[in-house]
C-alpha cells in the first residue's frame, strides 16, 4: 500500500492486478523448476500489459530479470514473453531514481534508522547507494550504518526452515550489528529479510522496528 501511495504522490497511476500471486522463486530456489515455471507463466500472463511492473522486493525482481530466462531456455514462447517483460520490471527504489528520477518524495520520518542491504538487491541488482539517497532526503531522518550492512540476515527462503538453527544463528549475528547502531528502525527493500529480522528481533525482545523503504517514504 505504501508503494502505491508513494508512486501516486509523484504522479503515477497504480494498478494492482488481482490475479497476481508469486513469481515462483520459492520453488525455483528449492530445485522444483517445473513448479516454478508454472507460477512464472502465470506471472508473465498477469503483467503482460503493464507499462512498468514495480516490485517492492529485490529478490522477486532478481528472480524475474535473472532467472526467468534460465527457466524458459527451452520454451521459446515464454522466453520471448520474459524478454518483453524484463525491461519493464523495476525494483521499487530503482524505479524512483531511474525512471521517475525523484530523490525527494516529500516524506518526513524523524527517527534514527539503519539500512540493511538485502543480498539479492545488492548483488544481483547492484542496489547500494540508491535507497540511502532516498533516505537522506527524508525530513528528520538520520541514517546510521551498520558495520557491515551487507552481511546476510540468514533468511534464504526454505533455508530458514531446512537449516533453522544455522539461519537463526546468522540472524542473531545480524541483530548484534543492528543493535550496535542504536537505531530505532531497520529499513530494507526486501520483505523477506524484514520477515526474518523482525521475527528475530521480536524473539529477542528487542524494541527495534522494521520497515520497508516504501513505508518510510510514504510517511509524512
Amino acid at each position: 500500500m505504501a508503494v502505491a501511495e508513494v508512486l501516486e504522490r509523484i504522479g503515477y497511476t497504480v494498478d494492482f492486478p488481482e490475479a497476481q500471486t508469486c513469481c515462483g522463486q520459492p520453488a525455483f530456489n528449492t530445485g522444483y523448476r517445473e513448479e516454478a515455471r508454472q507460477v512464472a507463466r502465470h506471472f508473465l500472463e498477469v503483467f503482460r500489459h503493464a507499462d512498468y511492473v514495480v516490485v517492492p522486493s529485490g529478490s522477486c525482481a532478481s528472480m524475474i530479470t535473472h532467472h526467468f530466462a534460465d527457466l524458459f531456455h527451452k520454451e521459446p514462447y515464454w522466453l520471448e514473453q520474459t524478454r518483453r517483460l524484463e525491461p519493464r520490471v523495476w525494483e521499487f527504489s530503482r524505479f524512483l531514481l531511474e525512471v521517475a528520477r525523484v530523490e525527494d518524495v516529500g516524506a518526513r520520518f524523524p527517527h534514527l534508522v539503519t539500512y540493511h542491504d538485502s543480498c539479492h538487491a545488492l548483488r544481483w541488482l547492484g542496489i547500494k547507494q540508491g535507497p540511502r539517497r532516498l533516505l537522506w532526503k527524508v525530513r528528520g531522518l538520520r541514517l546510521r550504518e551498520m558495520e557491515p550492512a551487507e552481511e546476510c540476515c540468514g533468511f534464504g527462503g526454505t533455508f530458514a526452515v531446512k537449516f533453522a538453527e544455522l539461519s537463526g544463528s546468522i540472524a542473531r549475528t545480524k541483530l548484534d550489528t543492528i543493535r550496535q547502531t542504536g537505531a530505532e528502525v531497520v529499513v530494507s527493500v526486501d520483505s523477506s529479510c524484514l520477515l526474518q529480522i523482525r521475527g528475530a528481533l521480536s524473539r529477542a525482545g528487542v524494541p527495534i522496528r522494521t520497515m520497508h523503504l516504501a513505508e518510510v517514504l510514504a510517511h509524512r
Partner: protein, 479 residues
Amino acid sequence: MMASYQQKIRHTLDDPRLQSAIYAASGRLMDHRSHAVAPAALPDFQELRTQANLIKKHAIENLDYYLQQFESNLTSHGGRVIYARDGSEVVSFLVGLAQDKQARLVVKSKSMTTEEIELTDRLQHNQLETVETDLGEFIVQLAGERPYHIVAPALHKTRYDVAELFSQRLGVEREVVPEKQTKIARSVLRRKFLAADIGLTGANFLVADPGAVVLVENEGNIRLTTTAPRMHVAVAGIEKIIPRAQDLAVFLKLLGRSATGQPLSVYTSFLCGPRRPSEIDGPEEFYVVLLDNGRTKLLGDREKRQSLYCIRCGACLNHCPVYRKIGGHNYPWTYSGPIGAILTPQFQGVMQAPWLPFASSLCGACAEVCPVKIDIPKLLLELRSEVKKAEARERQGRLERLGFRLWAWVMRHPRIYEMLGLTAAAVLASQESNGCLRQPPAVLNRGPLRAWFSQRDLPALPERSFRQAWRTRARVTRD
C-alpha cells in the same frame, strides 16, 4: 543419516569458543582482502577478475591442447609427466617410485589436491613416512584431523590448543607464544627436510608454455621441499593449467590478495624441471602427476565446468555466512565453503550429500569476491534442481514435492490464494502478541512451522487481505 549432519552443525553452533575462533579468523582475512583489492591498492581489480575468468575459460575449453604442450615442454627440460585417473594411481606411482629408489621419507607441502585423495594417510599405510611441513598442516596432521580451511588449515585451533597438542605429541614443554611454537615445529621439520628422499608438493599453476610448475607460499617450506630431497613429485589437478607465463601476471596479483590480503605471497617458485648440470641445488628427478579424479566429468557441461576455474584462494569461505558459522569440518568432503558445496556434488554425485547445495542462503557473497568469477549461486541452484530430480527418481522427498505441487496450483488460482491467506491469518490470530506470533497453534507445530518458530517469531498476518484493502481504497478514491 539426515540427523547426523544436522547434529554436527548444531554441535559447532553450540561451541562458543569455536564460533569466535572461526568468526575472528575469517573476519581478519576479509579485512585484509578488502584493503588489498580496494581501488587505491589495485585499481584494475575488476578487470583482472574478468581476465582471469577468460583465461581459465580458454584453458579449460582447450585443456587437451595445453596439457600436451605442458607435457612436451616439461619433458624437454628433463621432467616427467604421469597421468593418474584417481588417487590409487597416484599412490601406486609414489609407492613404486619409493621402492625403486629406496626412498623412505617424504616431506610434503600443503596441497588440497593431495587431501582430496587422502594421499598422506595412504602413503603412511604403505610404510612411507610422510610429513606435512606447512605449519598449519603440521598441526592438523599431529591432531589427526582434516584441514579446516583451504588456505588456513588450522584456522580453528587457538594457540592454547596448539600448546596442548605440541606438548602431548612432541613431548615438549607447554608453549603458548606462537613464535616459539613455530620454532618448535621448525626444529622438528628441519631434521625431516635433511633426511627426506622425496619432496611432495601440489601446484598452484601449471604453465603450458614454457612447461613450469608454479608454487606460492609464505613459510619457505616449499622451497625446502622442492630443493632438499633428491626427488620432487608435484601432484596437480589437470585444471591447474594456464597457457602462458604472462598469464601469471594476472593470477599472482589476484591469488595472494584474495586469500590473505597479501599483494604477493612471500615466496613464488617457478620450477621447470630437475637440477641442471650448472646448478647447485634442486632435485635430481622431477615428476609431475596430473590427476583427473573426476575432473573430466565436469568438462562436458558448459555451465558447470566453470567450477574448474577455482584457484583455491578461500575467499568464498571467509565471506560465506554459512561457513563462518559451521566451519570447515561439517562439509562432507575435502573442499569446504561455497566452492566445496559445488565441487562435492559434482565430483561425488549429488545424492552423496543431497543436503549440501541447500545449505546456503544464496546471499551471493561468494560470487562477489571470487577472483575468477565463478557463479557459485547459479551452480548451487542447478545442483538443487539435480538433487530434486534424483530424489524423484529414487522416490524420496515425496511430501515436499507434493507440497510444492499444491503450492504451484494455489499460486495459479488467485481466489484460493486469497482465501487461504485469510484462513491462515484467522487461525494464527489467536497466538498473536505485539504484532508477532510467538508460537504456532499446537496442531500446526510441526515441519517447517516448527522449524521457523524454533528460532524466531512470525510477524502476524493482517486480518484483511491486501486485496480487500485495495478494493476499499479504490472505492474511496473513486467516490
